[in-house]
């Protein structure tokens, strides 16, 4: 059967071009790889190469023709043992390809089927019950994180920790203290200072079936590795049609510490929370740190686990339970109230709680919500509280522009507008790189008085 030679596209966006020159004539023998013609667009000239052998039959588009649509039959090629003139006779009207797939048309699908189905979130998930009579132990966030990791390492041989100074040094911030002694160097691996490389090795090990916990000394250094967090870890499951998972935990301190300057003081919560395919967790207290760390390690999806250096040393009660695993994607009401909602996460939760105390003294009953997970965001918890208090303030230790706060404001506008009695207000850091000087640093960072002020304002009490 004769083969139709069609006008090729040089790129997916090319729709037509000029058939500049025929380099073969009718009746010529064509070998694979022969250049048959030259095609031109405004961007490039392309040689049209034969991928089949045979004899060139009828040329149907003369050289010099402009505006030849992609897919138009430009010549016929007769195969071995075929008559070239027959190939010519067989040729039909040059017809452009009508439906170009890859440009969004539904090949073989009825229009009615083309509906987008968004997944439905689980609604019935709650924190595990702490049975009556359970004892509590005062534990620092640092220890709680370590205990969570250690418990999961005992439970699952595939879990290991890698990062700078995690083993012999016992962790730059002592979060991995004692792990080397218990689990040995195979499972607690000191890496060179090489974030991009070891983030890739961690992600690759997860693809290969292990459960890595990759520690970044701080998330500021993860900027060097963000390609693997996003392009390798977050997107692979989708790109592979669900074939290849990447169950890795990237963890480390995030946000401003104390007087360490602009390059060591940034909150990456909003960055990672904008990426589909990632889970982003940012706990505040020790019990949540432990319960969510265990959940993160068991999670089949890649997790970014954002800790806070200033909170590491603070102690909170942690229930003495064998397996305290918290649900991912669920916010927690830290304090119930009826006049105004303050939404916060990570270190800002403590400021929000302080603000609520102060507000109580002035007769304002504030509800404080700890998001705990930044992606997926617990919209329901936010909107339920808003429906109750009708006023909402977001407290976030981070820049205001394109922040978690901005996102929550958008959610309240889109889905909670009817419940609003005042504009939703954000209290964030100032929009500057964090300065070193003590006075300027203090000015730049979110604090309790600012939250109090914002809460009073939305209550029209200022």
């Amino acid at each position: 059967m004769a083969i139709e030679l069609k006008m090729p596209a040089l790129s997916p966006t090319m729709e037509e071009g000029t058939l500049a020159k025929w380099l073969k004539a009718e009746g010529d023998t064509i070998e694979i790889g022969d250049i048959i013609a030259e095609i031109e667009t405004d961007k490039a000239t392309m040689e049209f190469e034969a991928v089949d052998e045979g004899t060139l039959g009828k040329i149907m588009v003369e050289e010099g023709t402009e505006g030849v649509k992609v897919g138009t039959v430009i010549a016929m090629l007769a195969g071995e043992g075929e008559d070239a003139s027959a190939a010519a006779a067989e040729s039909t009207e040059a017809a452009p390809v009508v439906d170009v797939p890859g440009e969004g048309k539904d090949v073989g699908r009825a229009e009615s089927e083309a509906e987008i189905t968004k997944p439905v979130r689980k609604t019935d998930v709650r924190d595990p019950d702490v049975p009556e009579g359970t004892s509590f132990t005062s534990t620092s966030v640092r220890e709680a994180l370590r205990d969570g990791m250690a418990e999961e390492m005992r439970r699952d041989e595939r879990v290991f920790v890698m990062g700078e100074e995690v083993a012999q040094y016992q962790g730059a911030y002592k979060v991995t203290q004692g792990l080397l002694d218990e689990f040995g160097p195979k499972r607690v691996i000191d890496t060179p200072i090489t974030e991009y490389g070891f983030a890739g090795i961690g992600a690759g090990a997860a693809m290969g079936g292990l459960r890595p916990i990759v520690e970044f000394m701080t998330f500021n250094f993860a900027m060097q590795a963000i390609d693997h967090i996003i392009n390798s870890a977050a997107k692979t499951n989708y790109m592979s049609g669900g074939q290849m998972r990447c169950p890795v935990v990237f963890r480390g301190p995030n946000g401003a510490a104390s007087r360490v300057g602009a390059q060591h003081s940034q909150n990456y919560g909003p960055w990672y929370a904008s990426v589909p395919g990632l889970i982003v967790i940012a706990p505040y207290d020790a019990a949540d740190a432990k319960g969510l760390m265990k959940a993160a390690i068991r999670c089949e999806d890649p997790v970014v686990f954002l800790e806070n250096e200033l909170v590491y040393g603070r102690s909170f009660d942690v229930p003495d339970m064998d397996d305290y695993v918290l649900p991912i994607g669920k916010a927690r009401i830290m304090r119930e109230g009826s006049d105004v909602t303050i939404v916060a996460y990570s270190i800002a939760v403590s400021l929000a709680l302080e603000a609520a105390e102060e507000l109580a003294g002035e007769g304002i009953d504030a509800e404080v919500i700890d998001l705990r997970t930044l992606r997926p965001l617990d919209k329901k918890a936010i909107l339920t509280s808003l429906a109750k208090t009708n006023r909402l303030v977001i407290a976030e230790e981070g820049w205001p522009t394109c922040s978690i706060a901005s996102e929550i404001i958008a959610i309240c506008m889109e889905e909670g507008f009817d419940h609003l009695d005042a504009p939703v207000t954000r209290v964030c850091d100032e929009d500057v790189p964090l300065p070193y000087a003590a006075n300027l640093e203090k000015l730049a960072l979110i604090d309790t008085p600012r939250i109090v002020k914002a809460a009073k304002k939305v209550c029209y009490r200022d």
Binding site: A9, L10, S11, P12, G33, K43, E47, V51, V70, V100, P101, G102, E103, D106, V107, G108, R109, E113, A114, E115, T117, P119, R121, D181, E182, P185, K186, I189, T191, P192, Y196, G197, G200, I201, G202, A203, G204, A205, M207, G208, G209, L210, P212, D227, H228, N231, S232, N237, M239, S240, G241, Q243, M244, I279, C299, E300, D301, P327, T373, P376
Partner: protein, 358 residues
């Protein structure tokens, strides 16, 4: 906490303490015997695989020209001997492979059905990634083929992780991590070299040197164009291999794999090859002459080269023609399948973003 034995992660000696390191130790072994003693059957199988890749890619190029394949499409034409020679030496179901975006050939070398590969190129539901990955993002965990990665060089550190998993599980497997001469200038490649050598990871790094990083000739982008030497700073032995000769590639694979399986750490293998087509389909190829391409095609073509050996060893022209005919049929069917199967359901838009529900 209980004390774990303070056993070293790997062998007691760190690479820096190894006074016997010689860059060329493996090259010497290869120079002694350049070509693998393949049986006629094996050679015929190499020939079929290479020809399948060639014909498949030619057809992919055609479908791209017709607008059936979108976006980027990087063809493997000219480089067939590399994937076929190396992958034929792997232990199936044990060793893992990872590569960059020019990945069709590596998939085909595994014997993965050309239909599901072509259907991925056309973005159809039946594609190996359900049409969600495309040309650059194909995976087969069943074959331990881990993709198909679009960020140049990223597959090298991911490959380091796959090798770490082999070592961690003590399963005796190795990882084969391919990258190009272009990717060889990415920083993370050297970060991975360092850790792989330090931890003696079972990994073979393969530079497919096809002479051009997109449109930039190696000499214009690389201070050291002898890529096999680039592991020297990390004490990784290097091998320089004629990537246009499938039997030499296979022989090099035997030597490198044996070294790695003995727990001696990584090997860096440079396969000198050539891509006949542009970097991607939209490459105007202004950076090299047609004569240069033609010269390689005529004198160094891996398929023609093996054909010659086969003919010398008793195969006849008709048999080989028959193979070609069969392969054309397979490719034709794959193309028809890819053209006629449906695009993914709209409902697939939100599936596979996450594994779990929250």
């Amino acid at each position: 906490m209980a004390k774990a034995p303070r056993s070293k992660k790997t062998a007691t000696k760190s690479p820096a303490e190894d006074t016997d390191f010689v860059l060329h130790s493996l090259q010497d072994a290869l120079d002694k015997k350049k070509r693998y003693d393949a049986s006629t059957e094996q050679m015929q199988s190499f020939y079929e695989q290479m020809l399948l890749i060639r014909r498949f890619e030619e057809r992919a190029g055609q479908l791209y020209g017709l607008g059936l394949i979108g976006g980027f499409c990087h063809l493997y034409i000219g480089q067939e001997a590399v994937a076929v020679g190396l992958q034929s030496a792997l232990t199936e179901g044990l060793d893992s492979v990872i590569t960059g975006y020019r990945d069709h050939g590596h998939m085909l070398a595994y014997g993965i059905d050309p239909k599901v590969i072509m259907a991925e190129l056309t973005g159809r539901e039946a594609g190996i990634s359900k049409g969600k990955g495309g040309s650059m993002h194909m995976f087969s965990t069943e074959h331990k083929f881990y993709g198909g990665h679009g960020i140049v060089g990223a597959q090298v550190s991911l490959g380091g992780g796959l090798a770490l998993a082999h070592q961690y599980n003590n399963d005796g497997g190795l990882c084969l991590a391919y990258f190009g001469d272009g990717a060889a200038n990415q920083g993370q490649v050297y970060e991975t070299f360092n850790m792989a050598a330090l931890w003696k990871l079972p990994i073979v790094f393969v530079v497919e040197n096809n002479q051009y990083a997109m449109g930039t000739a190696v000499g214009r982008s690389s201070a050291e164009t002898e890529f096999y030497r680039r592991g020297t700073a990390f004490r990784i032995p290097g091998m320089k291999v004629n990537g246009m000769d499938v039997l030499e590639v296979r022989q090099a694979a035997e030597i490198a794999f044996a070294h790695v399986r003995e727990g001696k750490g990584p090997v860096l293998m440079e396969c000198e090859t050539y891509r006949y087509r542009g970097h991607s389909m939209s490459d105007p190829a202004k950076y090299r002459t047609r004569e240069e391409v033609q010269d390689v095609r005529e004198h160094k073509d891996p398929i023609e080269g093996l054909k010659k050996v086969l003919l010398e060893n008793g195969s006849n022209e008709d048999d080989l023609k028959a193979i070609d005919k069969d392969i054309r049929k397979v490719v034709s069917e794959a193309a028809d399948f890819a053209e006629n199967s449906p695009e993914p359901e709209a409902a697939e838009l939100y599936t596979d973003v996450l594994v779990e529900e929250y």
